[in-house]
């Protein structure tokens, strides 16, 4: 069979392949990751590339176009999984850590008294006795390789050895023994597997210091933007394996990068903690998440065994023990448990609300006495997906908007100040707040009819749209617009989150006014403007000082669990204690949702501080 060559521009990377593969497939071979929100179904129309052949250029969907000859493909920046503002550093909130420094992997140096005819216990009894003393009386069990070399090693080192102990459920495993006082450092990784991004901390387990942080896109994005699309992909042959491999790949790449910059070898990484939503952990462990998606939404497991890196294909750290933080239910996962753990709301006196805003909005309410959680599907609008000119929060994304109330001229601000390429979640929220404030949209999110035509407000076959940036200003030479459909999408997203908050509060018969602290977590959260979010009714109308951005609490929770066994135990406790409220089962979510599909809300009294800021337009006054 003939071989075609596909050259990707501007990278100028060529791959040779058999005909019949899609351009998207070829791109993957070339190491170019495309954004494929619908998972290559051909339905989202986002994977547009330019195909040049014989002097003509055509725009085509990469996931639907089959390669059958030599071609040149230009991949525009906005189609790539590019650099992203991945939230590595948790904003340095000073959560007091109530947890003792007690890493999952420890090195213990012991001196044994040599055996004699009168003291003739076995080598292991001798050693385990000392080790157990050093770790607070917990049981220690040996691994076979250590037993095999133990006799000689103990004698050669004159009964002075360093033992490497890894915490298991309730006991320690002795995984290595070295002569004398071993000085090399031991390491661990704390990993947050997000649907969109993956973040890893490399941690020195002797000092507890974070040596390096790195983040990247979750390569599973090639199989769909959201969890549901990916679960569906799992049902195709090899689907589960592809998704498993994709996440392992992403982690391996990041790990290698981190280890290289810190000059650490992979074999010195002994423990890894992982936090992620329930589906992500299923895929990471290679479990089919199919039933998470189907009524009655049951995960295979919510607590996970400790496994070895190599069992999962983590070849860089094959011997490391991998701990996954427990989940609560199908849609409240270990990432949220990690969030509760790292914000300390599980021992707070104050009534605290924790919101992780992403494709799914996960919400936890409670304090040291009780915790209740729910998850509401907000859709990907906040991540800029499913929005005509939406994009993730990366370079060129419009993040702030000003609209002149008289002539409706627009001023915007983009991330890193480059020409706009699209609009991201925070930009969308700001934009909708401003459109309503100047009277261009009504409370239902529909464009108003104005007395005078507005140049930026125009009608297309698909309905009305507002031009945020004209083609000549933008990075792609196309107008950046916001359609009525986009606004509806965002209103549904914010409505779902707000309705979730209301349902939780009503379930425990409380209302906003009893909230004493609100944590906003998640990558998107940090770029959110509280005033805007309240103005559109995404967040409760409460004094701004109650709100606190806490960044990526998932990786922070994983980190805490890595350096403190008490924290890991606390996570297990949280997983068990957290009540899960299923919103689709017999409560008033739907009602709350519909009343939240309004700017800011059907019950305007809930937003007393927003009420007065809007202009009313439309209709001729008499």
């Amino acid at each position: 069979m003939e071989i075609c060559s596909v050259t990707f521009l501007p990278d100028n990377v060529t791959v040779k392949t058999e005909p019949g593969i899609t351009i998207a497939g070829a791109a993957r071979l070339a190491g170019i990751e495309l954004k494929m929100p619908c998972g290559g179904e051909g339905s989202c129309g986002k994977c547009v590339v330019r195909l040049t052949k014989k002097g003509t250029t055509e725009e085509l969907l990469a996931c639907q176009t089959i390669v059958y000859e030599d071609i040149f493909v230009e991949v525009p920046q906005n189609v790539r999984l590019g650099e992203h503002q991945i939230l590595l550093a948790e904003t340095e909130q000073n959560f007091q850590t109530k947890y003792d420094f007690e890493p999952l992997c420890q090195k213990v140096a012991v001196r044994l008294s040599p055996p004699s005819l009168y003291e003739n216990a076995s080598d292991w009894t001798r050693l385990s006795c000392e080790l157990s003393k050093a770790v607070g009386g917990k049981e220690v069990v040996p691994s076979l390789p250590v037993l095999q070399k133990m006799a000689h090693l103990l004698r050669k080192s004159d009964w002075h050895v360093s033992a490497l102990l890894v915490a298991q459920n309730g006991f320690y495993e002795l995984i290595d023994l070295q002569p004398g006082m071993a000085t090399e450092t031991i390491y661990g990784l704390a990993i947050d597997i997000g649907t969109t991004t993956i973040v890893i901390y490399l941690v020195d387990l002797v000092s507890g210091k974070v040596l390096g942080k790195a983040g990247t896109y979750n390569k599973q994005a090639a199989y769909g933007d959201d969890i549901i699309t990916r679960i569906i992909h799992c049902q195709s042959p090899k689907g589960l394996k592809q998704l498993h491999d994709a996440v392992i790949d992403s982690i391996t790449e990041l790990t290698e990068q981190l280890l290289a910059t810190s000059q650490v070898v992979g074999s010195k990484v002994y423990v890894i903690t992982v936090a992620g939503n329930t589906t992500m952990i299923h895929l990471f462990l290679g479990m089919d998440p199919k039933f998470i998606r189907l009524d009655p939404y049951i995960p295979t497991a919510a607590q996970f065994p400790i496994v070895k890196g190599k069992e999962l294909g983590l070849e860089t750290t094959p011997e490391a023990c991998v701990y996954c933080l427990p989940a609560v239910g199908s849609y409240v996962g270990g990432d949220i448990v990690a969030g509760v753990l790292s914000t300390g709301m599980n021992w707070a006196d104050n009534l605290t609300l924790f919101i992780d805003i992403g494709t799914n909005g996960e919400i936890v309410l409670g304090n040291k006495e009780w915790l209740i959680s729910c998850a509401c599907s907000a859709g990907p609008a906040f991540e800029g997906s499913g929005i005509t000119c939406g994009m993730r929060a990366m370079q060129g994304a419009i993040e702030r908007v000003e609209i002149n109330p008289v002539n409706f001229e627009v001023r915007y601000q983009t991330i890193e100040g480059t020409p706009p390429a699209g609009i991201c979640g925070s930009g969308l929220i700001d934009c909708i707040a401003k459109l309503h404030r100047v009277g261009l949209i009504d409370r239902a999110g529909r464009f108003c009819e104005l007395d005078k035509p507005v140049e930026r407000l125009r009608k297309t076959d698909e309905g009305k749209e507002f031009v945020l940036a004209w083609d000549w200003e933008t990075a792609l030479g196309k107008d950046i617009t916001l359609t009525e459909g986009d606004i509806q999408n965002l209103i549904r997203a914010k409505g779902a989150i707000f309705a979730g908050i209301q349902c939780l509060l009503k379930t425990v018969q409380l209302d906003f006014s009893s909230l004493e602290r609100i944590y906003i977590a998640g990558g998107f959260g940090n770029y959110l403007n509280i005033a805007d979010a309240i103005e559109i009714g995404l967040l409760p109308d409460l004094p701004h000082h109650l709100y606190r951005f806490v960044g990526n609490t998932s990786v922070r929770g994983a980190y805490l669990s890595l350096i403190s066994q008490t924290a890991l135990n606390a996570a297990t406790e949280i997983g068990k204690k957290l009540t899960y409220l299923e919103l689709s089962a017999g409560n008033n979510f739907m009602e709350e949702f519909i009343s939240a599909l309004f700017l800011p809300h059907t019950n305007l009294e809930l937003f007393p501080n927003v009420k007065s800021t809007t202009v009313v337009r439309g209709g001729n006054s008499d």
């Binding site: 009504d442 009602e591 305007l604 001729n620």
Partner: protein
């Protein structure tokens, strides 16, 4: 010792809406009709005032409708003359108001021109003295043009015009404001959507007492329980002071009842169901009477006998049960 009976004290009341205008008021009606004003649950005379009786508007169309023969036969002589049809409804059948539906304007149907439709409205206005409800053909673009023209031609008559919906309430609201008519705010059967539309309309500065709610009821056997509970919630909201739920309610009783199989299936088809016309009448009257109990103020009806039954019931319900 006398037993003290607990009575609910309501903070607020349903708003009153006045329909029609007499000569002195700038219109040509012989009288006006006021609906709403209740400060209690429906017909709880013992807990508040029910100052205005619910009213029945009989439906008239601008073209010959494809109605069941059990209906048509009562209007056979006038069915193609909207003016006389309306007159018959009022004089012979006792309609409190006329509900004129301009179905003929629909572009996919008879596609009557705007001016023809306006003429029909004027014809009906001329032939009866009662206030009028006029609604379009439910095709957004045509209705926009049509209702603008109707509103203008009937300026001063203080009509009730419909229907405004969330997707397109703006133009109708605007013409109601300019020409001083009342508006029907129609939402899907959902308390929040109903409220949202009222907020949207009132934010365009149409006064609240110019709005009548059409909650899109279901007919008997077709979701009437749900309609009942939504209406009840709206009434309770109004009594508790929620201004955005406090408008009087209109219900498309005739339309819903006469599209059920129970009302229209022939006697031959279901002999065990009894006489078809009688069934239809009862279906319409029962739908109406359930909705009356739920708090509807304006019943849009079709069959003269059903109208008679319901009017009789209204008389009885309006007898005070104060104690």
């Amino acid at each position: 010792m006398a037993v003290e009976i607990f009575k609910e004290k309501n903070r607020s009341a349903v708003l009153e809406v006045v329909l029609g205008a007499t000569r002195e008021q700038g219109g040509t009606r012989t009288h006006t009709i006021t609906v709403g004003g209740d400060s209690a649950l429906p017909f709880y005379h013992f807990e508040g005032e029910i100052p205005n009786r619910p009213v029945v508007a009989m439906e008239v169309q601008d073209i010959v409708p494809e109605w069941n023969n059990a209906l048509i036969k009562h209007f056979a002589d006038v069915i193609d003359k909207p003016g006389l049809w309306a007159k018959k409804c009022v004089e012979e059948y006792g309609a409190d108001l006329v509900y004129l539906k301009l179905d003929g304007a629909h572009p996919d149907g008879a596609n009557r021109s705007v001016s023809e439709c306006v003429q029909t409205v004027q014809e009906v206005l001329a032939s009866v003295g009662v206030p009028l409800i006029v609604v379009g053909c439910e095709e957004a673009d045509k209705d926009k043009e049509l209702m603008e023209a109707v509103a203008e031609a009937a300026a001063g008559e203080n009509l009730l015009l419909g229907c405004a919906e969330t997707d397109n309430y703006k133009s109708l609201t605007a013409v109601c404001m300019v020409h001083k008519h009342n508006i029907i705010a129609r939402s899907p059967l959902d308390i929040n959507m109903c409220k949202q539309l009222n907020i949207l309309i009132s934010e365009m500065n149409l006064p609240l007492h110019k709005i009548v709610i059409d909650p899109s009821i279901g007919g008997l056997g077709y979701g009437i329980e749900y309609a009942y509970s939504i209406l009840e919630r709206a009434r309770i909201g109004a009594l508790q002071g929620d201004k955005m739920l406090s408008m009087p309610v209109i219900a498309t009783v005739g339309y819903e009842a006469w599209r059920t199989k129970e009302a229209t299936a022939s006697t031959q088809e279901f002999p065990e169901w009894g006489d078809q016309e009688e069934r239809g009448i009862l279906w319409e009257a029962t739908t109406a009477s359930a909705l009356l109990q739920a708090g509807v103020h304006i019943l849009l009806m079709r069959h003269p006998k059903a109208v008679a039954l319901v009017k009789k019931q209204i008389d009885q319900l309006m007898v005070s049960n104060k104690y």
